[in-house]
């Protein structure tokens, strides 16, 4: 399954990216898809069997399940 995690800071995206990779997920950093946000932050695209929310840094914003360009929000943190 493909997932996208968005963040309040670039640093938080980097930390989560590192953690996801450490735990064996196929992850990469990228600009947030326009559909998800009008801001210009960094997101993490990753492929894994589960959303792996335990890998999220404290400043994560949301995690989405991705099917092509259809996104379903799985988790959100204000």
């Amino acid at each position: 399954m493909d997932y996208i995690a968005t963040f309040y800071t670039h640093l938080s995206a980097m930390r989560t990216h590192k953690e996801l990779k450490k735990r064996g997920a196929d992850a990469r950093l990228a600009p947030v898809p326009r559909k998800l946000s009008s801001s210009c932050g960094t997101c993490v695209f990753y492929t894994a069997d589960a959303p792996m929310l335990e890998c999220m840094d404290s400043d994560y914003e949301a995690v989405y399940g991705a099917q092509g360009e259809n996104y379903t929000r799985l988790s959100y943190k204000e």
């Binding site: 309040y8 800071t9 670039h10 640093l11 938080s12 980097m14 950093l29 990228a30 600009p31 326009r34 009008s38 801001s39 210009c40 960094t42 400043d59 204000e78």
Partner: protein, 356 residues
């Protein structure tokens, strides 16, 4: 092919519109190679309200007001207006000042740099080199864990203040123009019709909000993520300006000498834009992008714009701003060095603990 079109069409369209708008506004009366310039126009407004005394660059530029309000209106309609803030505001104010001082040493923000390139001004190529080097330097702390900390949700009132100030500025400048200083000669005296400029800027502001066009972000994303979407917009502006100038003027003269509102001091063209590139990466966006974000309710960007205003006042009050005649008569070199040191300190001291 369909995927490429889908990814790039909006940002390329925005770039083409920005370039066309710049050529159009110059034909309508704005200064040459300055149809749009965020730094110059904020500086003109700063002069119009009397924060600096440079008589040739004072005018309430409706373009700035229109960009913010265009982004504000479209973000409200699309339900993307979101008041946020609290991400190191004082640091952002300081970075805003440095970016503005650098831009006024070069004579243009990254947007005008691109427009100058499209107008045949080779000095702007030197500026572009400095801009890219500045961004490359700024990307290093970003990769090492640089952060200005996260922004939080703010009240609606907090997010509305900056767009409201823009509305007030516009209305007062129309109803009581005598309250403001207005250049009778020089670049400040050259301007398109107020309402034409406002409408063009409203459209461009809305397009920029939808496409996230950003000069600094273009180079940053290309370097950091091999993502070329934003830089495509950057290139589209150059193409539109080149073609537009060819249509309007019939020919283009590529040269260093004799370009409008530009100087030929390569060292300071380079250094000025290096300050802008480095500062913009730390801020997360070029001056144009800050205006758009402020319209979307981002109060950190609004504070950054206040920093631009302060920087413009400092640049002109202390003889740091360049002119067509060359660099300023003040301590330009000292301020450039001090600004580079400040950028280095801000970069290092904001690298999160545990990341070094």
């Amino acid at each position: 092919m369909r995927n490429i079109l889908k990814k790039y069409w909006l940002v390329v369209l925005t770039g083409l519109c920005v370039g066309a708008a710049a050529v159009f506004l110059t034909a309508e009366g704005n200064p040459a190679n300055m149809g749009f310039c965020i730094a110059c126009f904020i500086r003109d407004i700063t002069g119009a309200v009397g924060f600096h005394g440079a008589g040739v660059v004072q005018y309430v530029r409706p373009e700035i007001i229109g960009l913010v309000l265009g982004a504000f209106i479209i973000s409200v309609i699309r339900r993307e207006w979101k008041p946020t803030g609290g991400s190191s505001p004082m640091t952002r104010f300081l970075l805003g000042m440095i970016v503005m001082i650098g831009a006024l040493i070069f004579l243009g923000c990254p947007l005008r740099m691109v427009i100058r390139i499209g107008g045949g001004d080779l000095n702007a190529i030197v500026g572009l080199l400095g801009f890219v080097v500045g961004i490359l330097i700024g990307v290093v702390p970003l990769k090492l864990g640089f952060t200005l900390k996260r922004a939080y949700k703010q009240s609606k009132v907090e997010g509305l203040i900056f767009p409201a100030l823009m509305v007030i500025l516009f209305v007062v400048s129309i109803l009581a123009p005598a309250l403001f200083k207005s250049s009778v000669e020089g670049p400040g005296s050259q301007h398109a019709n107020v309402y034409i400029a406002l409408v063009v800027a409203l459209i461009v502001g809305a397009l920029c909000q939808q496409s996230r066009l950003c000069m600094a972000g273009g180079v940053r994303d290309a370097v950091m993520f091999k993502d070329f979407k934003l830089i495509a917009g950057f290139i589209a502006i150059i193409v539109a300006v080149l073609v537009g100038n060819l249509i309007v003027k019939g020919s283009l003269a590529f040269s260093f000498e004799g370009q409008p509102i530009a100087h030929t001091d390569g060292v300071f063209n380079f250094l000025g834009m290096a300050l802008v590139g480095w500062g913009s990466v730390l801020l997360g966006g070029c001056p144009l992008r800050q205006l758009i974000l402020a319209g979307e309710g981002n109060t950190d960007s609004a504070i950054t714009i206040c920093g631009f205003v302060a920087g413009a006042a400092v640049a002109h009050n202390f003889g740091l701003a360049s002119s067509g005649a060359g660099i300023g008569t003040g301590p330009v070199l000292i301020v450039v060095i001090a600004s580079l040191v400040i950028l280095a300190l801000v970069s290092v001291f904001n690298i999160a603990k545990g990341e070094k």
